[in-house]
Symmetry: C5
Subunit: 79 residues, 5 copies
């Protein structure tokens, strides 16, 4: 997983029907900007955990999603 | 998912038979150029949402596609 | 697989329910920092073997995980 | 998918038995060189369409292939 | 697939049980170092063909492996 920060969201009227009802956030990982389906109600400025690839679609009832926000981080600690 | 801009398309007479009937667009993501199957009728200059990897093939009846255009963006807003 | 070093861990109170009970470590591979589910009880400073992608989820009862620590390295030898 | 140019091929006498009978081409995408199974009879200098990842194996009867040449491009046009 | 050179191997006493009996080689692709399960008996200095991603696990009885050495190259020729 990658750590990123929510920087915004995107809207699309014309889209594949299986994407209806999904919220798409723009996430900056420092290296790049990705668009991810939101599973946890994240908002702008939140530091989040991002899952990418095929497994991301398991959060979304197998919709064709390749990135999902799956957690909002409390903090980073040293073990 | 990634955000990209449609810059053109590609034609191939000699191709794997399971790719017949697909439209292939060239998409620039800023970092690189990718070729993606079009699922939403995008045209040159459109800003689109791009799904990559195995999940892209779900839009295309399981054809061996690793990238698909799944939405045309209205705009990018701040949440 | 990639070789990395455990540099810390992350906590998330608000997360997808299927991630309950997982421990998430921050791993530096030199090139980048990743967050991975821990399967072997690794601690800070351990040099570990990191599996990424869909196969990582097999270690975690098919939870939607895209990176897992699967071994703690003894040493690197020449064959 | 990516666009690349065929620059050569590779031979391997010692290989996993499930790879018998496959032709492997070396493809330059500009950024990197990849080795891909050939499904369309491409030759040196041909500009080709390259599928990578799990879906590439669908062209090859589920053999463990992670890249395949699936089309020879006619030309790139503007839509 | 990628072409790489075997530069060494790694040992791990503490590892996920499903990885028992696998040999792990360190492979340099020029750009990066990867650790891959060996399916063909490769040794240090051999030039090898490397499969990455989910398909690599098919060589290893579905063990959670994301990279495998599947062939030892004879030579690179021009088609």
């Amino acid at each position: 997983m990658k750590i990123g920060t929510v920087t915004g969201s995107v809207w699309a009227t014309r889209k594949a029907s299986c994407l209806m009802g999904q919220t798409f956030l723009v996430i900056s990982t420092g290296d790049e900007d990705l668009v991810a389906a939101d599973q946890v109600g994240a908002g702008k400025g939140d530091k989040v955990l991002l899952v990418t690839g095929t497994v991301a679609s398991r959060f979304c009832m197998e919709a064709p999603i390749d990135a999902a926000v799956v957690a909002i981080l409390d903090s980073e600690k040293q073990p």
